[in-house]
Amino acid sequence: MYEILEKEVLAPTITKLKVKAPMIAEKTKPGNFIILRVDEKGERIPLTVADYDRETGVISIIFQEVGYSTKLLGKMDKGDQIQDIVGPLGHHIDLEGYEKVVLLGGGSGTALLYPKVRGFYEQGAEVISITGARTKNLIILEEELEKYSDRLFIATDDGSYGHHGYVTDILKDLMEKEDDIDLVVAIGPVPMMKAVADMTKEYGIKTIVSLNTIMVDGTGMCGACRVTVGGERKFTCVDGPAFDAHQVDFEELMNRLNFYQNEEDLVHDTAVEEDK
């Protein structure tokens, strides 16, 4: 059992939890994720470790309530216990060797982006962060990003905050004006990552995306997380979660992410029934 020490609602449906998990905190690096199970009957869901403190043995996770399990997790409070957490899983991101990095986060993807922003910044790279969301109150972690970025840009679809439009507009602008960007990192909904990949390919800039596939074990045992990268089958949980954006088969990824949509609805309906 893993105790929730703090809960913070960052935006409607986006929540941050601080959880006691010393063994995980000790080993996590930016890019690693964990798998957790809310309770005895829960599914195993992967979540990026947003922050970690080796001294206190505390990790932070940030998640958007999208399906049944994340909604359930969102209902948990300080003092509650999470059934299982395992990690750190996946490869961490190699932070070394870059001088100027642009990092883009879309929606709750920004939560996944944040540890990388901080990582690159602490490594000494020039960090440009771009975060976007549908509307102003869905923009998260602004303060934190500000702290660890040399420049921070914000975009909202409805223009209620920052640039009126998409994060990719800002990226395009930057790439036009500055020719010394040596890495782009994009994390967010698949269409956004695909758009970024298509754009940076034109400019020949190395680009990394972090994939949020369906997972079960997270240790390379089931293959549920398989993706095609550069024509080869990869397991996101052990070979990723970060991959070269220009090699990823995004169409296939999008298709696989939708597989359990009907079942997700069913679980949700049952839960609504149970709530009544």
Binding site: E43, Y68, T219, N258, Y260, E263
Partner: protein
């Protein structure tokens, strides 16, 4: 008394009933049936069955105890060599081992050693007399080892067996297990209807009672490394992480929705209890038409599971012939009874989809040619014989390799080209103090072989630690 030529039958659920539930298929022997069967044993002096058993259970002795009505004693005899008799009585391929060499089997059916083992194990488990006796425990204790720390990685049959023996020697044993449950394949692979999970629970409980500490949710190689275990004061490490990496066919369409590795499919159903969905929150989708590719135990388990989840038509698609199917004969027989259709000498060449989901599988017919290296006649494709099988789901069950997650994160640990860990006869690896056994050494094999390796390793770890403290 006239010689009974055939095994005493074991009652079981009728096929048309059992495909609607996940309850165990055979019911086990009654006391009377067990004695009748035990009396078929000839009590051979040279005991070929004992040689045939990978862990050398004193078979005629435990059978004699059943005849004498001392089932508790029979249980202690079993336990002296086999830590998990209730499991082995259910899933061991006795027909290739003890029963294969049984003298009764020359002219008649062999003694039903497996069924008797199961009977004895269940009898004692129900009565709580399945623990090793205090005298036995006292005998195994090694005072010099008292309180010294030993680590075991993986809570499958290999790890559990090693841990139990190490604890009996007096060591302070910790098992590190990656998943949120113990048992390894016994939990996530072999289905409830073949091995009820409460049996695995009870076996694990017994091991805990020996003082073994089990830490779940620890992926060694990620959460902690082998070197860090030594740094934390563990003097030896046993690696029993199994062969968990699923193989795929590498044909077009394998990443369509509706294509599962057998590992994923069985893990969803067994470990995550998707058969109780939506009460348990992990879904599994089977549809009406399911093909399982492969013909081993894993394939039979997947096919029979799909049937129980409501699939109408379930096929086994296998590129070789009937006599080459690697599954236990009992499981093939059970599958046939349950209406699984066998499409033998058929090789899948592509999976075709519609809207991103499986729609049909293209198969090519095969015929048997010359013998290959393994002594089996090689299947050769018949040109122009391709045909389509309409499907909703494809489950790939063509084997597993060792998962490189641990080995690739452990320095100086020698592995073979296919990923298996290299060990000597003592189950020792290329690193001092590090031992390994089970599927991670042999590739996917059997429960009893994994247990045997765990036992051998435990004994050699004991010797190693004694030697070490003398220095």
């Amino acid at each position: 008394m006239a010689l009974q030529k055939k095994k005493t039958p074991m009652k079981e659920q009728a096929p048309e009933e059992r495909i609607k539930n996940f309850n165990e298929v055979p019911f086990g022997y009654s006391d009377d049936e067990a004695v009748v069967e035990a009396e078929r044993c000839l009590q051979c002096k040279h005991q070929p069955c004992v040689e045939g058993c990978p862990v050398h259970v004193p078979i005629p002795q435990f059978i004699q105890a059943v005849i004498d009505g001392d089932v508790e004693e029979a249980g202690q005899i079993l336990k002296s060599k086999n830590n998990l008799p209730a499991v082995c009585g259910r899933v061991c391929p006795q027909e290739e081992q003890c029963e294969n060499v049984c003298v009764m089997g020359i002219k008649n059916e062999p003694v039903a050693i497996g069924r008797l083992e199961r009977y004895v194990a269940d009898y004692n488990m129900e009565r709580g007399s399945d623990k090793s006796s205090a005298a036995e425990l006292e005998k195994m204790k090694v005072p010099e080892l008292e309180g010294r720390k030993a680590a075991v990685i993986g809570a499958g049959p290999a790890g559990l067996t090693a841990a139990a023996d190490l604890a009996k020697y007096g060591l302070d044993v910790t098992i590190f297990e990656a998943l949120h449950e113990t048992g390894g394949v016994l939990r996530y692979g072999i289905p409830e209807f073949r091995l009820p999970k409460k049996i695995v629970d009870q076996e694990v409980e017994a091991i805990k009672e020996l003082g073994v500490d089990i830490q779940l949710n620890v992926v060694v190689g990620k959460s902690i490394t082998v070197d860090e275990l030594f740094a934390k004061g563990y003097e030896s490490v046993f690696i029993g992480v199994g062969a968990g990496l699923p193989r795929f066919l590498n044909i077009p369409g394998e990443n369509l929705n509706g294509v599962y590795s057998a590992n994923e499919f069985l893990t969803r159903v067994n470990l995550m209890k998707a058969f109780k969905y939506p009460e348990y929150k992990t879904p599994v989708v089977v549809g009406d038409k399911v093909a399982v590719v492969g013909a081993g135990n894993v394939a039979m388990d997947a096919a029979r599971t799909a049937k129980r989840l409501g699939a109408e038509d379930v096929y086994i698609v296998y590129r070789r012939a009937e006599e080459q199917m690697p599954a236990r004969s009992e499981e093939i027989h059970h599958a046939q009874e349950e209406g699984i259709e066998f499409k033998l000498l058929n090789n899948p060449v592509a999976i075709h989809g519609e809207d991103g989901r499986v729609a049909r599988m293209e198969c090519q017919q095969m015929k048997l040619g010359e013998k290959d290296d393994s002594g089996r006649r090689r299947p050769i494709p018949i040109e122009g014989s391709n045909w389509m099988l309409d499907l909703d789901t494809v489950i790939i069950a063509i084997g597993q390799n060792p998962n490189p997650l641990l080995t690739s994160n452990t320095k100086d640990l020698k592995t073979k080209s296919w990923g298996g860990i290299e060990v000597n006869d003592d189950q020792q690896t290329s690193r001092e103090g590090v031992y390994a056994g089970g599927d991670v050494v042999t590739g996917a094999a059997t429960v009893i072989k994994a247990m045997g390796a765990g036992k051998t390793a435990a004994e050699n770890i004991k010797n190693y630690l004694l030697e070490k403290s003398k220095k």
